[in-house]
Amino acid sequence: MNNHLKTLRAERGWSQQHLAEKLEVSRQSVNAIETGRYDPSLPLAFRIAELFELAIEDVFVSPSRG
């Protein structure tokens, strides 16, 4: 699933490790989500969106709208 995680992270000057610590997941998880190799569960996707203070659809691109 495509997403804007890398851009949002860069805008805040956060490293993958920093974001991972904020989300309480591994850096590999952040990397896998950023590169679209892993689709997060709905609770984790909400946690990511809430961390950036955005709506979920502002972080993740709907596969049907791709």
Partner: protein, 138 residues
């Protein structure tokens, strides 16, 4: 090098003593069998003893899978376990047909768990290699 999370640390704290127990029991049982003729119920109990810590390892692996909070790591572990199970089923199916026709002998069945662990390790290596090739930033 990624730091271990709480679930991984708990897994190691449970796994290590079990492996020490396994080694000690195996040494003890082998020594007892060398020194005296053991038979009957004692032999039965002694034969089962080394399996107990290994059954414990299987339980500890299940507990880790349940306790791992990082869903990506948990997903990868489940995929590795499925890969290991697939390799084990394929190998035992092929072996079974070879055995049926007398090409090979009967394998020691206690090797099934170590084989599964090895097959799971091979799957994890393949997954890591695939990630590295498709995503150099990993």
């Amino acid at each position: 090098m990624q730091r271990r999370n709480m679930a991984q640390r708990r897994y190691l704290l449970r796994f290590m003593p079990l492996m020490v127990c396994y080694a000690l029991i195996l040494i003890g049982v082998s020594a007892a069998q060398r020194h005296g003729a053991i038979a009957g119920a004692t032999l039965g109990v002694m034969s089962v003893l080394p399996a107990i810590p290994l059954v414990g390892v299987i339980i500890v692996m299940g507990m880790y899978l349940r306790e791992e909070r990082d869903e990506f790591i948990r997903n990868r572990l489940v995929m590795a376990m499925l890969g290991g199970t697939g390799l084990l089923l394929a190998a035992t199916t092929i072996w079974g047909f070879l055995e049926n026709n007398g090409v090979v002998g009967h394998p020691p069945t206690f090797l099934v768990f170590p084989f599964w662990c090895g097959a799971m390790g091979i799957t994890q290596c393949a997954m890591a290699l695939h990630s590295r090739l498709t995503n150099p930033a990993e």
